[in-house]
Symmetry: C2
Subunit: 311 residues, 2 copies
């Protein structure tokens, strides 16, 4: 694996004959503090036989003034070791000035419809425009054939999918399933900041998704599902930013579930415990093996819930 | 020359082995109504040995509600014949829906500093954001190695140069000198709409640039130059949107000319006659052979002007 720290080195690494001879370039943009979720993106990209480029860049544009930019975990040395083992070919580790040199003046604005709700409504303004701008900047530098993103950040995935469809139609966006701990908590760089107590309580997040899925199967409507799942999160000590049922692709709020809307319905959650904000999501029906396997022992909660709603 | 009318055909044309074997792709985005200025871009691109792609697309995003979108000249058949003769390989002639399909939701915003002045201040709001968005869209589709633009639209060139530097750093922006009629008028698709009388009067536009250059050489300062050149345009029947002296690269207004500021000073003009708005620009000192050659017989006007200012 080659590590490059500026655009010039990056372009040189991409333009050596060995790299050019590779049929395609696969790109995994990250903010570092890598966990098995990121590494699964890299492994999937490696499996395609592409030259795999991973970037680690904590993008200031996507953090608001009240957010955790300074506190965002940075674990560069261990990240590099993990990427090497996973089969990454080029690691791009730029400074802020390399990504946004003096005079940088362009904003790539996200779809207003996709970015106004969920994290767009609860995080500081401009979050998703910061995401689309940095991803566009990195896409233009790397010019990959494919780019890999985790489904844990589902809204971000849809926002990037639209931006890429509009501005980088030749880059294929490849989503990968959320990787979870054995208790069901989605892997996240922010999990490292949870106290032991909060980490135990955090299982309430995937449980709220499983709970919503059980209620939906039992015929409950969004208002009931959202109220019950929020209440369960509150009891576990979480302050809920949102728990909503929306269409998977358009992110439109669903107020009524029927056969048609259920097919693409998705439950989204963001909640805070201590200083940490966690997000997660799941299809409301249909298989979610990672989530179901982790929550399997927890059937009693779902049964109680079902009884409470339908009873 | 292959003519393609949608993205799908464009990508197929770019991906045939013959095209892929070409070392590089050169791109000339246009709004059609082609004249020798456009064709000089194509000829320069052909000289590089690249596969040359020209697009003809009258971009609605860059026209305001009070502007001439509907009246913009469309001469598709003769454009195609001219491009074929000039050596273009692929002509992309899309519909509005092919460039902006349903769901298109991204804006690529131009540098605020470069786009607020000159045409950004006098045309309808959003003009340059419309330009950067369509150029980014086309850059992402074509993925050229170089893209060719005329210096007549100098501000547009700087805005695109910044956008490309930010989002498409691997695309080389290649400016080409303004092509002029024998009397000095810069070629423009809008010239076709001038009446015979207005076409004759339009020579006042390049004369105002030549006049400004003469005054600058005689030691005049921006206020004097702007007043004198505006007055000459007014006498020729023009309503002046702007006539300003600014830095060539930053487009900052220059209020004082000295050895340092003169080196990069540029005079910019936009003025209306009848229903037609014409623009032009020139370096304030240094060679501008195309302009000087055309204006050479016109020395008496410059001498008179110099006497008026310095006397």
């Amino acid at each position: 694996m080659i590590t490059v720290r500026n655009r010039c080195e990056l372009l040189a690494a991409l333009n050596v004959p060995a790299a050019e001879a590779t049929e395609s370039v696969a790109f995994v943009p990250t903010m570092g503090a890598l966990h098995d979720g990121h590494l699964s993106l890299v492994r999937h990209a490696v499996e395609t036989g592409s030259l795999v480029v991973t970037s680690i860049f904590v993008n200031p544009l996507q953090f608001g003034p009240n957010e955790d930019l300074a506190a965002y975990p940075r674990t560069e040395a261990s990240d590099a070791a993990l990427l090497k083992t996973a089969g990454c070919d080029i690691l791009y580790l730029p400074t802020v000035d390399d990504v946004y040199p003096t005079g940088f003046a362009t904003n790539v604005t996200a779809s207003a419809e996709l970015s106004a709700c969920l994290c767009g409504a609860t995080r500081d303004a401009g979050h998703f425009d910061g995401v689309t701008t940095v991803v566009a900047r990195l896409f233009g530098l790397v010019q990959p054939n494919s780019a890999w993103f985790g489904e844990k950040d589902w809204q971000q995935l849809q926002v990037i999918r639209q931006m890429a469809s509009d501005i980088f139609p030749r880059i294929e966006i490849r989503p990968c399933a959320t990787v979870r701990d054995s208790d069901g908590l989605a892997l996240s760089s922010r999990n490292a900041r949870l106290s032991d107590t909060d980490r135990k309580a955090a299982v309430a997040i995937p449980h709220s998704l499983g709970f919503a899925r059980q209620l939906a199967r039992a015929g409950a409507q969004p208002t009931e599902i959202e109220r019950a799942a929020k209440s369960a999160l509150g009891e576990a000590g979480f302050s809920v930013d949102y728990l909503e049922i929306r269409d998977s692709l358009t992110l439109e709020l669903l107020t009524h579930l029927n056969e048609e809307t259920l097919a693409t319905a998705r439950v989204f959650v963001a909640a805070r415990i201590g200083q940490t904000r966690l997000i997660d999501n799941s299809a409301l029906i249909g298989p979610n093996p990672q989530l179901e396997e982790a929550l399997a022992p927890q059937t009693s909660m779902a049964s109680t819930a079902r009884a409470a709603v339908t009873g």
